[in-house]
Symmetry: C2
Subunit: 327 residues, 2 copies
């Protein structure tokens, strides 16, 4: 594809984008009508929406359009999985500058399509408009297959806290890229293209998970959301949390404690859940802590999540506080 988005025009661009899509049996009506129609056999639909902005959530010199597509889809599809649902569909809103090469949105679409396929879903609709800042608005849908949704609010004192997926890899990759390096590849790739363990969400629901979330803001921050919604405390055991040797090495090289990445780094979209203490968890789950009762009437100053009994400072990202740069 040659030329710019403006030269191709809205309808030409939509044709080009939709021509790249694949479908699934759940898609009853795909792109091109007033709305899409997607199977929701459970009788309930799970839905989540997220925005990615250039310069804020991705940089074109760090990530290809394809990677932005995979990452954008992944973070939404992981939200669906974290409710215990199976992803089914994705809708896309795109703001594009008129002078952007057409290859950018087409490669983005390839990435969205491939990540959807990895999760068993399909892109079913969207909207494109012209604007100054590339913006990718994604809504993901999913089906509960008869299981009850697992919220953040069901953790009970005595439950174990377990996690599956990668922790801190994206943040370590971000640290590498921030310093102008392009390797180690494994961490840079993890930053560009997270691999959420989609199937772990419905599996956790079937195992009786009492609360669940994906790790998008950082492990401590996201477990804080569970502690908050469940009105409990959570204590993590640092000895149960692995720091890979290669991550330690990067930490030494850049002067950062790698536990900062493991406990505070988001965007790997690991799945963290609480389970009753007697549950037999498959090997993919690492038990990393336990759920404790809140002391008396909880003072707001009391930390909800501790590590080996003591507060851990880093509190995750506030997307308006301005502390983070493009990730």
């Amino acid at each position: 594809m040659k030329g710019t988005v403006g030269e191709l025009g809205e309808f030409g661009l939509i044709r080009e984008l939709t021509s790249r899509l694949t479908t699934t049996p759940a898609v009853r009506i795909g792109p091109g009508d007033d709305a899409a129609v997607v199977a929701a056999p459970d009788g309930r639909v799970v839905a989540s929406t997220d925005l990615l902005l250039e310069g804020r959530h991705f940089r074109r010199d760090w990530s290809t359009a394809y990677d932005v597509g995979r990452k954008g889809a992944a973070q939404n599809l992981a939200d669906i999985a974290a409710m215990g649902a199976v992803p089914t569909a994705l809708l896309l809103g795109l703001v594009l500058p008129a002078d952007l090469p057409v290859t950018w949105p087409t490669e983005l679409m390839d990435g969205l399509r491939d990540e959807c396929r990895a999760a068993g879903a399909a892109v079913v609709g969207g909207d494109v408009v012209r604007g100054d800042t590339i913006t990718v608005a994604i809504t993901a849908l999913g089906d509960l297959r008869g299981l009850e949704p697992v919220t953040r609010g069901g953790a009970r004192p005595g439950d174990v806290v377990a996690v599956t997926g990668w922790l801190g890899w994206s943040a370590a990759g971000h640290a590498v890229l921030s310093r102008g390096f392009r390797s180690p590849r494994a961490f840079v790739e993890a930053h560009r293209r997270p691999e959420p363990p989609y199937d772990a969400g419905p599996a956790a629901a079937a195992l009786g998970a009492t609360a669940m979330t994906d790790v998008s803001d950082g492990l401590v921050a996201d477990l804080g959301h569970i502690a908050d919604a469940s009105e409990v405390r959570i204590d993590l055991r640092s000895a149960a949390i692995d720091v890979p040797t290669q991550m330690s090495d990067i930490g030494k090289a850049v002067g950062i404690d790698p536990m900062t990445w493991v406990l505070g780094g988001g965007e790997d979209h690991a799945i963290a859940a609480t389970f009753p203490p007697d549950v037999k968890l498959p090997a993919r789950w690492r038990v990393i802590g336990e759920v404790l009762p809140c002391a008396v009437a909880r003072a707001s100053a009391q930390p909800q999540v501790t590590v080996d009994g003591v507060p851990w400072a880093q509190a995750g990202w506030d997307h308006f506080s301005g502390i983070e740069d493009a990730q």
Copy 2:
């Protein structure tokens, strides 16, 4: 609410926005978790997404935040109705500058909530991020209640073309505002806050509509989409299409043929549908034309929609062509 979005911070803003929402029995899990859960009793879910950008789709000096909320919700909920479905839920992605007064997003949310309520739906989730251009990304969901979705592709030669709702009012209001006037109020209000006939969509499906769309790009353009998808032609009878006296008066005042607005103006979100010729339509529907077969192998030059048998020039908006300004 005093202060700016940046001062309030992400979590404070989300609390403020979600505190304004109302719910419905279809909302099983609302905002605040990884994803929302919404009833989809039909076993299929209808979904559509749209973007509104400041300066392109709305202007803060022409429309209040409340009106932008109502209009943004309306254009998405109308897409759901135009498939023959009942709107159930809406998800919201918001890009906001840090220096924006908090009252803007809170009033936007009031507008979204109220328009959802008018359609029987509720806001169930969203995302807010900081950015330079106010951007409102909306995804609407709906339920078919056992009826088959009505696409754009089912019109057959011999069918009648009927419409319900307002035509050209928003475009006339836009013309008034473009010239620096604030009245006549009825047209300015129609531009700021369309009133789609939501219930007409499922009603048309129940009446046996063969094809349907909402009028968002303009009557001729949107019927062109039906003609294209159905591989038919459509001829409209100008005598069947009313131009209100007051609209004619504005046309004379600004030197524009008001039929330009009625046939070419979008954003009123009227519902246009085709029906078998023997259908008994309730009084709200105006029969304005008929569906004709395509002549032989359709030449691409052949107009798909004619008025009294002759082509009508205005082809609706191409959102990348740059011909339209902020609406």
